[in-house]
């Protein structure tokens, strides 16, 4: 049987400990409880996405370079009316 004095001391100690912990741990920046909704773990595989992204990067650079080449000054022949 726990004495009332001991119970009060334990309660006080737990309150002090809880406050100390609360001061040490920074407040979460996201809504409380969201951890339950967010799945945890490591993504497995996904190489298809990686190759797709690198293809987009290479194709973007290549196609833009090609567009500059086709639009280069003097690339298009003058209109028929301009030729003598």
């Amino acid at each position: 049987m726990r004495s009332p004095l001991l119970s009060r001391a334990l309660l006080l100690a737990s309150l002090v400990a809880a406050r100390a912990l609360a001061e040490d741990v920074p407040a979460p920046k996201h809504p409380v409880g969201i951890e339950k909704a967010v799945p945890s773990g490591v993504i497995e595989g996904g190489w298809g996405y990686v190759y797709a992204a690198y293809t987009v990067a290479l194709a973007g650079l290549l196609l833009y370079a090609l567009s500059l080449w086709t639009r280069r000054p003097g690339a298009q022949p003058p209109p028929p009316g301009d030729t003598p």
Partner: protein, 253 residues
């Protein structure tokens, strides 16, 4: 791969840009050198990003997408910053050169931005579970890109070169307001998109690849700007030679 290698590569691109600006006789081939070194650096980036870099702690191999996604978006921001600089310069001292450079950087920025968004969408599918989300970062980026697409559309629809240059400079300054919003959107609002990585939060190997990718894209950015500037200047001279615009000679060439 030594940690200073991206810095050495940056010194090379800086030397190319400075030589191009300071020594006019090198302007005919300096962009070729930039494209050539860029291609070599790109080949190495493929090796570094796909093989050499370790998998990310949570995203695993999907994290490798960031080595091309982030440099593309950064190049977009660099191009738009150059664009607004040219716009302000044009409004302060009217010059067809700054107007041509503004047009070039806007188009290249849109190209890099669109590529970056597309790669971001591919990255989002395995990490977020969706291709697209109406998140503050994504919305602000879309608005920014649409502003610059509007800028380019405005330029192509306006025939008077002087009016086009003046008004598009104003549109550019207005459009640039969206860039800091894009940058800080992940900090200002509760965004699904992660906040910017710092030197402390990145693994040293990942940091090397990220910077290597960024500097590699700088080579292409420079080569593209040089060639697109030539196109813009050529179009300007054609427009200024045309009869309706011929009397306008207030702007220095």
């Amino acid at each position: 791969m030594p940690f200073w290698s991206p810095l050495a590569l940056f010194a090379v691109v800086l030397a190319i840009v400075v030589t191009h600006l300071v020594v006019p006789s090198t302007r005919g081939w300096m962009w070729k050198l930039s494209a050539l070194v860029g291609l070599g650096a790109l080949a190495l980036l493929l090796f570094l990003g796909l093989i050499w870099a370790p998998p990310e702690a949570f995203m695993s191999d999907v994290g490798r997408i960031l080595y091309v996604h982030v440099p593309f978006v950064w190049m977009c921001m660099v191009a738009f910053t150059l664009n607004v600089g040219c716009a302000i310069a044009y409004l302060m001292k009217k010059s067809w050169r700054t107007d041509a450079l503004a047009e070039s950087t806007a188009e290249i920025g849109v190209m890099f931005g669109a590529g970056g968004v597309l790669m971001g969408s591919i990255w989002a599918r395995p990490t977020w579970g969706v291709w697209w989300d109406w998140d503050p970062r994504l919305i602000s980026t879309t608005v920014m890109l649409l502003a610059y697409v509007g800028y380019l559309a405005f330029r192509s629809f306006t025939e008077d070169p002087e009016r086009r240059a003046t008004w598009s400079a104003a549109v550019s300054i207005l459009g640039y307001v969206s860039l800091p919003i894009v940058w800080f959107s992940v900090r200002w609002w509760n965004s699904l998109h992660q906040v910017q990585s710092t030197s402390q939060s990145l693994d040293s190997q990942m940091k090397i690849v990220m910077w290597w990718g960024t500097v590699t894209m700088l080579f292409f950015l420079f080569a593209f700007v040089v060639k697109r500037y030539e196109i813009a200047r050529s179009r300007q001279s054609t427009a200024l030679e045309a009869p309706p615009e011929a009397p306008r000679q207030e702007v220095t060439a």
